[in-house]
Amino acid sequence: MNYMELLGALAPEAIVVLTALVALAVDLLVLRQAPQNARQVVAVSITAVGILAAIIALSVAAPSPPWMDGLLINHSTTAFLKQTLLVLALVAGILSIQSRFTQHTGEYVTLLLLSTVGMMLLVSSDNLLLMFVALELTSLPLYVLTAFNKESPSSSEASLKYFLIGSLSAACLLFGISLLYGLSGGITWTQLATTLRAGSEPIVYLALILTLIGFAFKVAAAPFHLWAPDVYQGAPTPVAAFIASGSKIASFYMFARIFMAALPGTAGSAAWSGATPGWVPLVAALAVVSMILGNVAAIAQRSVKRLLAYSAIGHAGYALLAILSNTEQGMGSLLYYVVTYAVTAMGAFAVVNVIERDVQAPNGESLTDFAGLSRRSPLLSLCLLVFVLSLAGIPPLAGFFGKFYIFIATAQSGTSQGLIWLVMLAIGTSAISLYYYLQILKQVYVVESVGQPTPVQLRPAESACIVAMACTVLILGCAPNWLINRFSPNSTEVRRAGVITKPSTTLELAAEIHPRITAPLGTATGLVQKRPQFETTTANAQ
């Protein structure tokens, strides 16, 4: 036990915590009398410096061995995810400059950064104990941030709903975790994976269901989604953007890891014929309900934030497909999907933030406020076009490849392509989703604005963020290998933790569909070389 080594391993998190405290202290002690704008700019500048320092610390840190029972794991994938989370937090901070939902700038930045620290710990934990604490550290500041707009009753209502439902889900998760601990006698992934097997014990399934419910609440998968539309609509827009992006990445990563790495013995199968009990059919049920309900309910929405909430539920359904594929390709495709989705959702919310400030309606924006946006701000509407089409999954944008990888991973997992029915359903709901995404674009590009079109006021930092995110979505769509290859080195580590991987012919399928991306994908991930190893793993597991 060496505290200095621990501090070295935790340096990025420590930097972020220090930044949060410094921002709070400067705001409360020095800038008490300063104008609101100056306080916001100073607080976000401090945040930017701290976040940049943490990102640099993450990029220079050498991958360290798991620390104390998997309480802290650091490798290239976690480092990349943490950097993404930090960038998203910074964007959420920048979006809040000059917005007038709160006067507590220092507290806003502090809570935002504390939530980010929770997400960072969540990403790098292999242990039920730290997982739960990190999940609470992620959620608690988000509950408070949702209530930050004290002039709006819907903000308070959303926060209370979020808090109550979040507490309930935490209770479910804790119950499930305690059962897992009681059944296996351990709290690390390896201990869980070696002891827990699906069998005649109903209590194993009870533990699985409770854990699953807890995570389904966190990722807003139907039917545990009821908080999401109210929170997305009621929360201040930068906060909603952070809930939709950062917390999604961290929660989905942990969701996938706990089920893939810690509970492989209880997977079961969701094949159309011959389903066996386990967590995979449960996740499949969640995915089916989420995809259908999210995409159908989004059609009826008139507020863009609410529409994005239902679209997020639908996207959660697609991401669940990647989890239930239960392979390392599924993991890679999930990470590509949630990262690109997070950037896209953050961008879409950033545009909504601008429009909301522009219209200043008491009840927030509505779909008709986007009418004629293309004449009022061509740049903003072009970026919105990129974000919305990416959410809809139109090539060559990042959202298309996200869905593409997930569908391939799902179709190839399972014996004799038994999961193909889920992929068909997902493709069908994607087609439905196109309708409401195009509704937004119709308002922007076709419908005339009421009265004389006035230019939209854009601040430089904000527009730089929006353009940067739109470019990211475009680049990740044109060169998806760069990102998907980043998630492959982790595969050996995941497999060692006990994921049952199945032999796969993804490459052949991908070659048929898209020859250009296949060659680098194959060489980089080394899937071909690894295949014999997969077979032995599967044979051992059976």
């Binding site: 915590v17 300063a34 609101q36 309480l71 000059q98 608690l140 209590i203």
Partner: protein
């Protein structure tokens, strides 16, 4: 099948007290009575921990929850003006709620009762080796990261509680009204779009008594 007689009578009594007081805490009409019932629930939980030989957790439960949190709850109820208002918690959907509660409880209890692994447990309770010194050593060495993370959770909770409870009225909190004026001029000069909101908010605040 494990029978009721296998379960120690002390546990049954503690469980009964805990459950009944918990039900009372959420169903009584007077908030002060609810708070006091909640104290009894905390005491019951502490007794359960002690019965399971988790002495440190039991005493911590008594010190923290029964001692501090309960007093805080009662104080909060008495200090807020609505203490005399009796709420009517019985809603029309109480029957539906009862049905759901029974269904959930049944689906939780049934797997617990029917699982074979629970019958393999030893009859005598395992006394966990949980001396305070060992707990402290574990917390400061092996589990120092979750401990630190919990400290952050408490920090966030404290900041959040202050922010939510604080009255958002700068004229009332600030010693001089000048910062408010600076804020107004600053924001107006920077964003023409902010003028409407600002003027409306200032008029509404001036109308406030």
């Amino acid at each position: 099948m494990r029978m009721l007689s296998d379960i120690p009578i002390a546990f049954l009594m503690i469980a009964a007290v805990t459950l009944v007081s918990a039900v009372c805490a959420m169903s009584l009409r007077n908030l002060v009575h609810c708070g006091l019932c909640l104290v009894l629930t905390f005491v019951g939980l502490a007794a359960t921990y002690l019965h399971l030989s988790a002495e440190f957790v039991g005493f911590a439960q008594v010190l923290v929850y029964v001692g501090a949190v309960a007093i805080l709850i009662v104080f909060t109820i008495l200090l807020t003006r609505n203490a005399e208002v009796t709420l009517s918690p019985v809603s029309q959907s109480s029957l539906v709620g009862l049905g759901i509660a029974i269904a959930v409880c049944g689906s939780l209890v049934l797997p617990l009762v029917t699982s074979p692994s629970l019958r393999r447990l030893p009859a005598q309770s395992l006394a966990p080796d949980a001396q305070v010194q060992r707990i402290g050593e574990k917390l400061m060495a092996q589990y120092v990261i979750p401990l630190e993370a919990l400290a952050l959770v408490l920090t966030a909770a404290m900041i959040g509680a202050v922010v939510i409870a604080m009255r958002d009225d700068p004229e009332r909190n600030d010693p001089s009204p000048s910062p408010q004026n600076q804020k107004d001029t600053g924001s107006v000069s920077n964003s023409p779009a902010g003028t409407a909101l600002n003027s409306s908010s200032s008029t509404s605040s001036s109308q406030r008594p």
